[in-house]
């Protein structure tokens, strides 16, 4: 296989820049649709025996003094999700809604009820942001330690690229961003890194190899061609299981699987285009490798 990846490099940069710009703008002006985990509030899931009459539910609970009820179908038309923000002392809570529906004789089976105080949500939001930053930092340190700082820049750029684009998609399409999506995002960080490292590893190997000659461009292109099939196959198997999760995992895992699926696609793309572009920009040469050529490359050996 001989695909001139490096030729498409600038095209990749243009596409990525546009995507990132759109994502950042959307997040700035539109923001993320945060889930209950992060905003605090009350959510109730009620399952009816037949198709639920949303209007009837709305008119029933509108008798409660609270204007911000959101009533919608969830997963299927017999499942209803009621969400609302309450005052600080939660005078209006899940029980109030259940009682009201019971009074009006239209209560199905309450399958799940969740109440989170706003303060907890705020805290989780902060913690989530910190987690992503810490993850990126730890990875940077590891990659610098194991490889070389230029690979570190490449891996981090790819990571930031992937995370921003996924956040952008969630913002643009009003997908609910909750704790499970945050977990998925961190898993994407891990996955994107996995890809970047496989690519970087190959590039390093070819740069170190004294039998391989040619410009940086030739060597990088050779490396990309060598790992390309693996990147495709692994992304494909991961996408396969994510499709399984989307089909069978139900509503609770839907956005989680979606975020991961996007991460797999964007992550594979960025490992080829973003990592490499950074290596070009930082002018990676065979000389860079000499300092690290006595790295414990050979210490991992199997019988």
């Amino acid at each position: 296989m001989n695909i001139p990846f490096t030729k498409f490099n600038n095209l990749g940069v243009i596409i990525s820049s546009v995507l990132i710009l759109i994502s950042v703008l959307s997040m700035l002006f539109k923001g993320l649709t945060l889930g209950l985990d992060f905003t605090g509030g009350v959510s109730l899931e009620i399952k009816y025996e037949q198709k639920a009459d949303l209007e009837r539910i709305r008119s029933s609970i509108s008798k409660i003094e609270n204007s911000n009820f959101v009533v919608l179908n969830f997963g299927s038309d017999d499942n209803v999700l009621i969400k609302f923000q309450s005052d600080e002392d939660l005078n209006i809570n899940a029980q109030t809604v259940v009682d009201q529906l019971k009074n009006d004789n239209y209560l199905g089976e309450v399958t799940k009820s969740e109440t989170i105080f706003p303060q907890i949500g705020e805290e989780l939001r902060d913690k989530g942001g910190i987690a992503i930053l810490v993850a990126i930092l730890v990875i940077l340190v590891y990659v610098i330690f194991r490889f070389q700082i230029k690979f570190g820049y490449g891996a981090i750029a790819a990571l930031v690229h992937d995370v921003l684009i996924i956040l952008g998609i969630f913002s643009i399409f009003n997908l609910v961003f909750d704790l499970s999506v945050l977990a998925a995002l961190l898993a994407v960080v891990g996955y994107s890194l996995n890809d970047s490292i496989v690519v970087s590893d190959r590039i390093r190997e070819n740069f170190v190899d004294k039998n391989k000659h040619g410009s940086s461009d030739t060597l990088i292109n050779l490396s990309l061609n060598q790992v390309f099939l693996r990147t495709i196959v692994t992304s494909f198997t991961t996408l396969l299981v994510l499709v399984a999760l989307l089909i069978a995992g139900g509503e609770a895992l839907k956005n989680f699987s979606l975020a991961l699926a996007m991460g797999v696609v964007v992550g594979s793309y960025s490992s080829i285009f973003i990592v490499v572009k950074i290596l070009f920009l930082t002018n990676l040469t065979k000389k860079d490798m000499e300092k690290t050529s006595n790295e414990p490359e050979e210490s991992y050996s199997m019988d």
Partner: protein, 612 residues
């Protein structure tokens, strides 16, 4: 030739066998069961109660599978859910609501597996159904309340010294106001002498004209909150035990929070009531033998319900005055309990004991308890009542003040039990609910089904793909994948990790990502073949060249998973656990197990061509 050394084959087979053994318990069905305990720790489930219950159930045609004593409780295994509900009603009626009866299920794990330490996976609330609460110490209210009570005591001390003052409490601080500069100076002198001084680490003192502001230093506040959370944990555990839930979780989370998880409970309102209720303590003198019945009450001892004592009706002080109680040892190494009271409590104690040396002082524990019955439709009927019992009745040796001790305890267990009761009487600090979640049993079951289906579908898809793409090598990879699932299940069961829905998602993701290592290896082998390596050498080099990449890629992913675990709560933790375990097991299976199978397939013969 590619062959493993004997020890390598031995290692792989051992891990495989151990993995299979410890994942086995998950494949045995569970039987419905009842766990019957007493709300009073002094009732022992001896054989007579056991026989009576057995007879009762037999008479009513409830078929009992097994009935046994477990930790002073009865474990009754039944054959059907209907029998389980019928038995619950019968036993509740029989005990007149005194027993705590929890519905649970018993794994039918065979004994030899149990003896090896095998147990099925713990299911999280999203799979088992139940109630989850997060409670938080109301730090502001706690410090304000504590300061106000200290303020009240200070005023008394001041007025005794002829100092005129009043105090006002606001958020996190109190302001003591005085009428003259002279009073302020005298008050300050008193405060300095009594450890309120600025140099002390407990209080921040600011003098402002004729008033003094008093607040806790942040260090001291953190310290008392920390202590209060520990005390509350004990109290909450006791209360939760009363709910009759099998395997409840009451755990501290962070600096000021407590998580309570009650699997199987659906009625969050009544659970909340019991968790939020208060118990209390009363200190009363033992009544003189000639005291009239109008002035004394009879109480039973908590740990010896057959004996009783008369205490005076007059209450010296109540549990709110107890600031600390800890078991320790005296100079001679005998167990004792040290008790600290707040200033007003200390004064009351001094007042009461100074003329009563030689008499006994009783400590009453007042608990709000609930009797639970079930009607014909198995609806829960609850009736609450108050139980007062004596936890200590010791002789007064000296005039007692803010800190004193109870000695003469027979052993250190008794001492720590007593300290626990003295502390656990009331919640040490007010708590509020900050998170509440109820998951219905249908949703739990649905989540299990969905989770299992996604694992199965994901697995089959990957299995077929690997088979088509890599043929014989695909078989090796697929075997490694099966092995990987077995190992994840075994490790989770063995370390008692909790499986949640996001956790299942983590397993599904592992299935997809675990083959990555094999894909890397196979790609390397085919590269070697193309550069005209001999087949056996190509296999050898393929494995060793891919190794470094696999390690690097997995270690970084593991780092991310560990960060996820460290910062995550609930669902995120569940995901991080399975992801971490999956990464580690997949390194083992994808490298060693695949290699082992490839060795078996190719290592023992001459191979001319390799189809990869």
């Amino acid at each position: 030739m590619n062959r493993f050394k004997i020890w390598q084959n031995f290692l792989i087979s051992t891990v495989l066998v151990v993995g299979i053994i410890f994942s086995l318990p998950n494949f045995f069905p569970t039987n419905p069961a009842l766990q019957v305990a007493s709300s009073n720790s002094s009732i022992f489930f001896d054989t007579s109660i056991k026989e009576e219950i057995e007879k009762l159930l037999k008479k009513n045609n409830v078929f009992v599978d097994k009935i046994e004593n477990v930790d002073n409780a009865l474990q009754i295994t039944l054959q059907s859910v209907n029998d389980q509900l019928a038995a619950r009603r019968l036993i509740a009626d029989y005990s007149k609501g005194e027993f705590i009866i929890a519905l649970n299920s018993v794994a039918t794990t065979p004994n030899w597996l149990k003896d090896l330490g095998g147990k099925p996976l713990n299911l999280g609330l999203d799979l088992a159904g139940g109630v989850h609460f997060l409670l938080e110490v109301d730090t502001e209210r706690y410090s304000t309340e504590r300061l106000s009570s200290e303020g009240a005591s200070l005023l008394e001390e001041f007025s005794k010294r002829g100092i005129n003052s009043n105090y006002k409490s606001s958020s996190n601080e109190i302001t003591l106001n005085f009428t003259s500069a002279n009073d302020v100076t005298e008050a300050k002198n008193y405060l300095d002498q009594n450890n309120f001084s600025v140099s002390g680490s407990k209080y921040d003192l600011i003098q402002n004209g004729n008033s003094i502001n008093l607040r806790y230093t942040s260090n001291y506040l953190a310290e008392i909150v920390d202590y209060a959370v520990d005390q509350n944990l004990v109290a909450l555990r006791n209360r939760v035990n009363e709910l009759g839930v099998s395997e409840p979780i009451v755990q501290r989370e962070g600096k000021s929070r407590i998580v309570v998880e009650l699997p199987g409970v659906q009625d969050s309102a009544s659970a909340k009531k019991i968790i939020g209720k208060t118990a209390n303590l009363e200190f009363r003198l033992e009544a003189r033998s000639n005291a009239s019945f109008l002035r004394k009450d009879k109480f039973f001892y908590k740990n010896q319900p057959s004996s009783s004592a008369f205490l005076e009706k007059k209450i010296i002080l109540s549990g709110d005055s107890v600031t600390n109680a800890q078991s320790s040892f005296d100079e001679n190494g005998r167990p004792q309990v040290n008790i600290s009271l707040d200033i007003s409590g200390g004064r009351a104690m001094q007042e009461a004991t100074k003329d009563n040396i030689g008499r006994r002082l009783g400590v009453l524990l007042i608990e709000e308890k609930t009797k639970t019955f079930f009607d014909e439709n198995n609806e829960v009927l609850q009736e609450s009542y108050v139980e007062k019992s004596i936890i200590s009745n010791a002789t007064i040796q000296d005039v007692l003040g803010t800190s004193f001790r109870i000695t003469g305890l027979s052993n250190s267990y008794e001492a720590s039990d007593l300290a626990l009761l003295l502390r656990a009487g009331a919640l040490a600090a007010p708590m509020k609910f900050v998170e509440e979640q109820t998951i219905g049993p249908t949703l739990g079951q649905e989540n299990i089904t969905k989770g299992l289906n996604s694992v199965i579908i994901g697995f089959i898809l990957v299995f077929i793909f690997m088979l088509i793409r890599y043929r014989l090598f695909g078989i090796a990879a697929n075997f490694a994948l099966i092995f990987n699932l077995v190992l994840i299940t075994a490790v989770m069961s063995l370390i008692g990790a909790t499986l949640t829905l996001p956790g299942i998602a983590g397993i599904v993701l592992t299935v997809g990502m675990a083959v990555d290592a094999n894909v890397l290896i196979f790609a390397r082998i085919s590269e070697e073949i193309r550069s005209n390596s001999e087949v056996q050498l190509a296999i050898k080099n393929g494995f060793s060249k891919a190794f470094g990449t696999i390690m690097d890629a997995n270690i970084t992913t593991l780092l991310v998973a560990l960060i996820l675990y460290a910062i995550g709560t609930g669902p995120i933790k569940g995901f991080a656990i399975t992801l971490s375990i999956g990464i580690v097991t997949s390194i083992f299976t994808a490298i060693l197990v695949t290699r082992g199978i490839v060795n078996i397939m190719y290592g023992y013969r001459k191979v001319e061509r390799l189809n990869i």
